[in-house]
């Protein structure tokens, strides 16, 4: 049993670690190798958007002799392990061996797959540090990491000194001696950070948020170009994962980047040089339309189990042919999408778009970012209020669908200029808008799903599926219909909250001014 460790990074490659440690500790302590050095193959895993890292967790697959082991460790001392046999990455948490580790990961990763974030070979040597009675008072682990990427240089050797219980004072003395050695630095970064740093990266780098730091006084065109470039980065970051179909969120993030780009081109058209927005809007519409069929099917399939579980008069198993049909269609649509993302048209679009954005020269005259943000947000907000206010009990679904799009435009506008606003005011405004968006989203998704069920039922009938399947689909459609009606009935309340005097005042603050 031992207590907290001292960690060091050793940067001097001339003198081997055991020699340095021996020289530093003699004659009060001796250094005894505890076992032969072992080499481990280490693969750090996380979701593409670093959900584990953000939760303070590190997941590692360690392979040496014998079966590979998955180790989940947390900054708060949490540690769960599981043996994995032949698991190939990427994999969803459901694909991991059942047990506490899978249970812990399922909720965190949800629809995102675990994929390798970094790989390295690790040569681990353990030493006993003994007092003059030859009693072990501390353990020293030396870890030499060799990143898998050939271009990467090895990070500094990592030393971890752990006191044996009851010998913390001696271990502290040893730590002091080690810290005094040239090239020895206290506090080695976690191994994942060290390996990623060798190739100029860091954990948690990817986010699908529009995290662009703008200033109120910068030219509006420069601000918009920065936002659009950030969106292009996110779009491109998700292309490979969408083509490989690693998980459904790659397409989601790609699609959101396209939609945000289209919104920025629409709302900020006047800020860009003449004709630029008009030239690219049709191309991004093409890209957005390409993603729709697969994403609609993803939404349907992701909610399928919950929908099936809610059937009242049919057996969920009767829906299997329907599920298979959707899954098959998704495979076809996904292939079509992947082909388009590999096409010359797509490659040319992203390359030309990047080149157009990076070659923009700020105009001599024009609004600054704060004014442009105020105008864009104000206009988008007014549009939502006008269109929403025109919706009554008998309004057709198209009107709600249109309002949903306007809400998205307003939300994206708030995201683009987030760095110009006071976070508490913006968060509150977004919360109210989100409440309205969720309601409209559910309504729209239910509509799409009902249409899908009807269309598929006709196809399946022609294929001669059992009557039980069609009955179950009818049951499912009825439940989806109930959810749709519930969302429709909630609309007026949600809109009233959004359009309330207090909420309008918050938007007025956002539209009126920005932090300099």
């Amino acid at each position: 049993m031992s207590v907290y460790p001292h960690n060091f990074a050793y940067t001097d490659s001339e003198r081997p670690v055991p020699t340095v440690v021996r020289d530093a500790l003699a004659p009060r302590f001796s250094v005894v190798p505890a076992a032969r050095a072992r080499t481990l193959r280490r693969t750090w895993l996380d979701t593409f958007d670093w959900r584990l890292h953000r939760a303070g967790l590190t997941l590692e697959c360690v392979a040496g002799r014998g079966p590979a082991k998955l180790v989940l460790s947390g900054t708060a001392g949490e540690r769960i392990t599981a043996t994995v046999n032949g698991t190939r990455w990427p994999v969803l948490a459901e694909g991991l061996p059942r047990g506490p580790l899978q249970d812990r990961l399922k909720g965190l990763t949800a629809v995102r797959a675990l994929l390798p974030a970094a790989k390295a070979a690790s040569t681990v040597s353990e030493f006993r540090l003994c007092n003059t009675d030859d009693k072990t008072v501390a353990w020293l682990t030396v870890d030499l990491l060799h990143p898998a990427q050939p271009s990467a240089e090895d990070p500094p050797a990592r030393l971890s000194l752990t006191a044996v219980r009851g010998y913390q004072a001696q271990a502290d003395r040893i730590a002091q001696c080690l810290a005094a050695q040239p090239g020895m630095f206290r506090g080695a970064p976690p191994p994942l950070d060290a390996v990623l740093a060798t190739v100029g990266h860091a954990p948690g780098e990817y986010t699908n948020k529009v995290d662009v730091e703008l200033s109120a006084t910068m030219p509006a065109q420069t601000a918009l170009a920065a936002v659009l470039l950030r969106l292009l980065d996110t779009l491109e970051a998700n292309v490979a994962g969408t083509i490989r179909d690693i998980d459904t969120e790659f397409l989601h993030d790609l699609r959101v980047s396209v939609r945000r780009t289209r919104t920025a081109l629409k709302l900020g058209a006047g800020l860009l040089p003449d004709g630029l927005a008009a030239e690219y809007r049709p191309e991004f519409k093409w890209l957005g339309d390409l993603t729709t069929p697969t994403r609609d099917l993803d939404v349907h399939l992701l909610g399928f189990a919950a929908g099936a579980a809610g059937l009242t008069s049919a057996d969920p198993a009767d829906l299997a042919p329907f599920h298979d049909y959707l899954a098959q269609r998704r495979t076809t649509e996904q292939r079509r999408l992947a082909r388009a993302l590999r096409s010359a048209r797509f490659t040319a679009l992203t390359a030309a778009w990047r080149s157009a954005l990076t070659s923009l020269t700020p105009p001599r005259r024009g609004p600054d970012a704060a004014h442009a943000a105020a105008r864009i947000i104000g206009r988008a907000h007014r549009r939502v209020l006008t269109r929403g206010g025109a919706i009554g009990a008998g309004s057709p679904p198209e009107q709600l669908h249109d309002l949903r799009k306007r809400c998205k435009e307003l939300r994206y506008a708030l995201e683009f200029f987030a760095s110009l606003h006071d976070p508490p005011v913006r968060r509150r405004a977004v919360r109210e808008l989100k409440g309205l968006q969720d309601c409209l989203g559910t309504y729209q998704d239910c509509q799409v799903q009902q249409q899908e069920i009807r269309a598929v039922a006709a196809d399946l009938l022609a294929c001669g599926v059992p009557a039980a399947t069609l009955l179950a689909m009818g049951d499912l459609a009825s439940h989806v219909g109930q959810r749709e009606r519930r969302a429709r009935s909630e609309f007026s309340g949600r809109f009233a909250t959004f359009a309330s005097r207090e909420a309008r005042a918050r938007f007025a603050v956002l539209a009126a001014g920005a932090r300099s």
Partner: protein
């Protein structure tokens, strides 16, 4: 948390060797083990290279002015910790006598360690005293090494009688033959006969082997420095029987 006491009224019968090797075997098997060296001679502490000293001495531990937890030292073996002896442990009887309900004192001191350990071995000094009463009150199992001689068997009877006469908690007793000299016919005869006749005598016997004496030179359990030796195999057999008794 199970508490096993290696105890005999008679001294020099292999209590410490049993406690050291069985605790090492238990820890090697994945158990979290604490070995408490209650004998002021501190042989167990010596074998694990731990200085026989407890800050504040036995009085601080028994009176509770020093946490037992803070006196514990890690050994060189994973999962095996040691409460070292202290020369003041020679006065444990007197210290206990000055406390309320002295026989319950030890079990109370050990109670907070319940979450930290699966098994606690108490290596006791010989004799019948207030400390031994306290140990017997705390223990789930008393592991009593006996030398196969008529006199030693008499002490086993004395021990079982003594335990039988205790009020309240009475630990299970498992005696085992220790320091058996296979060349002596009497040793062989008794070691074979008694386990068949009495269910409180283990079938495994620990022979008198120089390898066990070597522990003092190696300052390590024989099960660690000579795991394939006859001595280590003997202790492994005994540990299997003890585990079966503990359930």
């Amino acid at each position: 948390m199970k508490i096993i006491a290696t105890y005999n009224i008679k001294g020099g019968v292999g209590k410490t060797a049993a406690a050291v090797n069985l605790s090492h075997l238990a820890a090697s098997g994945g158990m979290r083990v604490l070995l408490a060296d209650l004998d002021p001679q501190a042989a167990t502490s010596f074998l694990f290279r731990v200085r026989p000293r407890v800050k504040g001495g036995g009085a601080a531990l028994i009176r509770g002015s020093r946490d037992l937890d803070k006196a514990i030292k890690g050994t060189d073996f994973d999962g095996l910790d040691l409460l070292p002896a202290d020369f003041t442990f020679r006065n444990l009887d007197l210290i206990l006598d000055a406390t309320k309900r002295p026989t319950q004192r030890l079990v109370r001191l050990l109670r907070p360690l319940k979450a930290s350990y699966d098994v606690v071995f108490l290596d006791c000094p010989p004799g019948i005293s207030l400390l031994s009463e306290s140990v017997l009150y705390a223990a789930d199992l008393v592991l009593a090494p006996i030398i196969p001689t008529t006199l030693s068997l008499r002490t086993l009877d004395q021990l079982t009688e003594f335990i039988g006469g205790l009020d309240g908690h009475r630990p299970a007793v498992l005696a085992f033959f220790s320091m058996i000299d296979r060349r002596k016919r009497l040793h062989k005869e008794i070691a074979e006969r008694l386990p068949a006749e009495r269910d409180d005598v283990a079938a495994t016997a620990i022979p008198a082997l120089s390898m066990i004496e070597r522990m003092a030179v190696e300052r390590s359990p024989v099960t660690a420095f000579a795991p394939r030796s006859a001595a280590a195999r003997g202790y492994a057999g005994l540990w299997a029987e003890v585990r079966a008794r503990l359930g």
